[in-house]
Subunit: 237 residues, 2 copies
């Protein structure tokens, strides 16, 4: 079948299953199609169906039992101290007012560090937004975000003073997985000025990458002034 391999077949199968699980159409503990059923339904080889199911199992979405079948995993009710929250909601909950200042919004090619940092192929088309979020007119977060153009084709037309990238992306590409990296750093001069920080004041840097069906959908660098921000979370192990 010499189809135009626009995207890998195993990803198509993964996405099909993921969307059914995410929408709740396939409830937890319910059975998903077996490898042979997927072979017939998608016209792929068993190895390809196997890879889709195996990866979803590795990711915790499915549970496989040899000789029995494959089932939707129980959705763990876990509390995460580092939630993915919308900064505007966060500020409003504290009773503050949120304002977004758009610094730049453009189309870029992933080259060098960008491709490596964000884990995409070199020269991929990305959209990049830089926004300063203010709480009560004081800058509290500098958000530098890159998104895959394929995920959000209209990204450049969005009015990010009215809606945050987080809100927009949640609508168009519901995330499945996220990675956070936290560092304490000294901000560079540009970052320092945008956040109106004093000299020698450290910043908290959060690198956040979100994934949809195995592909990175969006990567963000979030800078917080050390003196004005803290992250906290409470949970039960």
């Amino acid at each position: 079948m010499p189809d135009p391999p626009s995207q890998p077949l195993y990803l198509k199968v993964k996405r099909h299953i993921l969307s059914n699980v995410a929408s709740g159409k396939w409830a937890a503990a319910s059975r998903v199609p077996s490898e042979n059923e997927l072979v017939k339904a998608f016209g792929v080889s068993r190895m390809t169906a196997n890879r889709a199911l195996r990866e979803l199992s590795d990711e915790g979405v499915l549970v496989r039992i040899a000789g029995v079948g494959t089932f939707v995993a129980q959705g763990g009710a876990q509390a995460h101290p580092l939630q993915i929250r919308n900064i505007a909601d966060e500020i409003r909950e504290r009773g503050g007012t949120h304002r977004a200042q758009l610094v730049s919004l453009e189309k870029v090619r992933a080259v060098g560090d960008l491709a490596a940092d964000f884990g995409v192929a070199p020269r991929s088309l990305l959209y990049r937004s830089v926004i300063v979020h203010h709480e009560n007119e004081r800058p509290i977060q500098l958000e530098e975000r890159c998104v895959l153009s394929a995920i959000a084709p209209d990204y450049l037309k969005v009015d990010f003073t009215r809606i945050t990238p987080h809100e927009y992306l949640m609508r168009t590409a519901p995330l499945q997985e996220a990675q956070h990296i936290l560092r304490a750093i000294m901000p560079d001069e540009t970052t320092r000025r945008l956040l109106q920080m004093k000299r020698h004041e450290p910043a908290l840097l959060v690198l956040r990458r979100t994934w949809t069906a195995g592909a990175i959908a969006s990567a963000a660098r979030l800078y917080y002034p050390g003196s004005r921000y803290e992250m906290s979370g409470r949970f039960r192990p």
Copy 2:
């Protein structure tokens, strides 16, 4: 080749690569054997070699670049901010050696903020330990911890060069709930010296409080050098 499949072949290949990476024989950024080289070396098919390399790539051990090769990933000091981990285990998992340097271990009275933090009456009896944890003889965490004397009566007699406070407390007072607060700060002079940090280098401060049966059992201030440490976590929302 109908060998006794005592263990999957792709796991043998993975283990071979992992042991070479963990032992440092294959340094970061160095090249690992290509799929075809593994095919010859292990007598497996290319699909099997591919699976071994792909999974190690998914796990962050390797980085693969199509058309170029497969390389050992840069392994930084990493921890999950969401988990409460034992720093000694964390270091050992990275293949490093852990050493604890006891700075002080004493009995203190809860006064002022300390009493408020713990929610105990002023002048209550607390135990306080200050320890510098080293990874490969470089300081990586300064742990300043206070525990309720009622929770751990023998705290002052423990040899904290052999067991971490975390390990000890897990035995005597299994925690039920925890709170984390993360900040980027400039360390004071004492902290800076204990962690052998450069001037103007920021630190990551984690305030951790744990509860047992509704009462605070322990409160810790964990300082990490910003240049030598990062926390990361990956999860599904």
